[in-house]
Structures are given as structure tokens and as C-alpha cells.
């Protein structure tokens, strides 16, 4: 989906990065735990999260994640928005819950990360 159509589907709004609305993303990862994001995100995803913290942007930056959707109507601070702008990351917000937002995107053909656990890791 294009970032613009993701935004429409989730009745979302931009905090920054509107200029990237034509870019396409095929994968989505929904999570509040940044440790998991670091361990499992492989593809070019949009990150859906209810965690509003500068570390969300930092984590995205490290993984080359291009877009973040903050769910449940939570508001990022100016500092967070500034960090996203600096990193060229699209930051959006929706009132939907993590489950509903994920469901809507799944229904529109977005794919999830295939998580394969290391046998001896867990």
C-alpha cells in the first residue's frame, strides 16, 4: 500500500513526512516492545505502536523503518516529531487500537513478518 492509502484507511493524520505519501510499503509490524522490533523486523515495514517514546524513532532509524503509525490516539512530543523529521521518517497517528489498525491493514493486503524462532534461542 502507499503511505497515503494507509493513512486514509486508518483515518490517520501526519505529524511529519507527508511528502513521502506516494511511497509503497508491503509489510507491517505491530508492537509496543522495541526489543522485539529490533529482533524480528527484516522487511521494509510500517511500524504500528502504542509506545510514544524517543526510542521508537531511534529504533526505526536503526532498522531503516520508513514509517511509524502511533495508535490509540496517543500524542508524540515535539521532540519525537523533530527526531522523526530529522531521520526522514513518516510519523502518523490514528485513533484506532493496535488490533483494529493492524486488522484493517491486513485486510488491505499488507503482510506480516515471518517470525522463525531459533530452536536453541527460546
Amino acid at each position: 500500500m502507499t503511505i497515503g492509502s494507509i493513512k486514509e484507511c486508518l483515518e490517520a493524520h501526519y505529524y511529519c513526512g507527508e511528502e513521502y505519501q506516494g511511497d509503497t510499503l508491503e509489510y507491517c509490524y505491530s508492537c509496543d516492545l522495541m526489543s522485539d522490533v529490533l529482533a524480528y523486523v527484516k522487511n521494509n515495514v510500517i511500524l504500528l505502536t502504542g509506545l510514544v517514546h524517543p526510542q521508537v524513532i531511534r529504533t526505526a532509524e536503526m532498522l531503516d523503518i520508513r514509517a511509524i503509525m502511533i495508535v490509540r490516539g496517543k500524542r508524540p512530543s515535539e521532540e519525537i516529531i523533530e527526531m522523526a523529521k530529522e531521520g526522514g521518517i513518516v510519523l502518523m497517528g490514528t485513533r484506532h487500537s493496535l488490533f483494529t489498525a493492524s486488522g484493517i491493514l491486513f485486510g488491505n493486503g499488507m503482510r506480516g513478518e515471518e517470525i522463525t524462532h531459533d530452536e536453541n534461542a527460546l
Binding site: D32, L33, M34, S35, D36, V37, L38, A39, L51, H53, P54, Q55, V56, R58, T59, E61, M62, L63, D64, D118, A121, L122
Partner: protein, 140 residues
């Protein structure tokens, strides 16, 4: 090419500043995206650990034509049982660390998976030294 970063403890808000700066440098040098990604993930996990478990420390990086080498040194509490710490899910992270989305006990595993060589030495009560190496020309 060598670089040095000081990492503050306590300031959870700034975690990842060094990793972020180093990543920008690697990009400027035109290093391959997959290599940048692997070193960035490993270094960021290690930098997070240094802040949330050891009150900060210092990072020295070296880039040669063969490899990227990152050494993280802290004067924190040290790791009592390294085998246990390496186990996925094992974590002594504080509530504050968990609130910012860390402390799942998967960092060391994730570092090991993403770099080519990981060396950790730790002395209880003195500190921890983490060395991360990613080779530059082996895979295409």
C-alpha cells in the same frame, strides 16, 4: 578511520545517539546497506545495554577496508553469568527500561545473530567490554 563516543548513563532519553551518529558516518562512506544494518543493530543493542544496565561508558569504532570493529567499554556492575545472560528471555532490566520498550532479554542474542564476531568480557564489580566485528568484503 577511528571514532570515539562517550555514552551518558541515566539519560535514557538519549540512548542510541552514538549508534545513530556512527550509522550516518557509515552511510556517508557508502558502505552496503545490509552491512550497515547489521552493525547498527548490534551496536544499538550494546549501547542500550550500556545505558540501562551499566550507567553509560565509552565506544570506540574503527573502520578498515576489511572490517568494522566496535568496542564498548563500561564501568558498570559486570555480568555475573555470561551464559545465563546470553539466554533469550533472561533480563535484569529495570521498570524504567521496560517502559521504553526494552528489557526483553533478547539483546545479546540479537547482537550475536547480526554481527560476524561478538566478544564479551566482564568482571563483576568492574565493568563489561563488548567487541563487535562485521567484515566488509565477504558476502555479496
Amino acid at each position: 578511520m577511528k571514532m570515539h563516543y562517550d555514552v551518558e548513563g541515566g539519560e535514557f532519553i538519549n540512548v542510541g545517539t552514538a549508534s545513530s551518529q556512527f550509522k550516518k558516518t557509515l552511510k556517508m562512506l557508502g558502505i552496503g546497506a545490509d552491512i550497515i544494518r547489521r552493525i547498527s543493530i548490534s551496536m544499538y543493542e550494546a549501547e542500550i545495554n550500556m545505558v540501562i544496565h551499566a550507567n553509560g561508558g565509552s565506544i570506540d569504532t574503527e573502520i578498515t577496508p576489511e572490517r568494522i570493529h566496535v568496542v564498548l567499554q563500561d564501568q558498570g556492575p559486570g555480568i555475573e553469568n555470561l551464559d545465563l545472560a546470553m539466554k533469550a528471555g533472561y533480563s535484569t532490566a529495570s521498570r524504567q527500561a521496560r517502559e521504553m520498550g526494552f528489557g526483553a532479554g533478547m539483546g545479546l542474542q540479537n547482537m550475536k545473530r547480526n554481527c560476524d564476531e561478538l566478544q564479551i568480557s566482564s568482571v563483576l564489580g568492574e565493568g563489561t567490554r563488548v567487541e563487535i566485528t562485521v567484515y566488509l568484503n565477504q558476502e555479496s
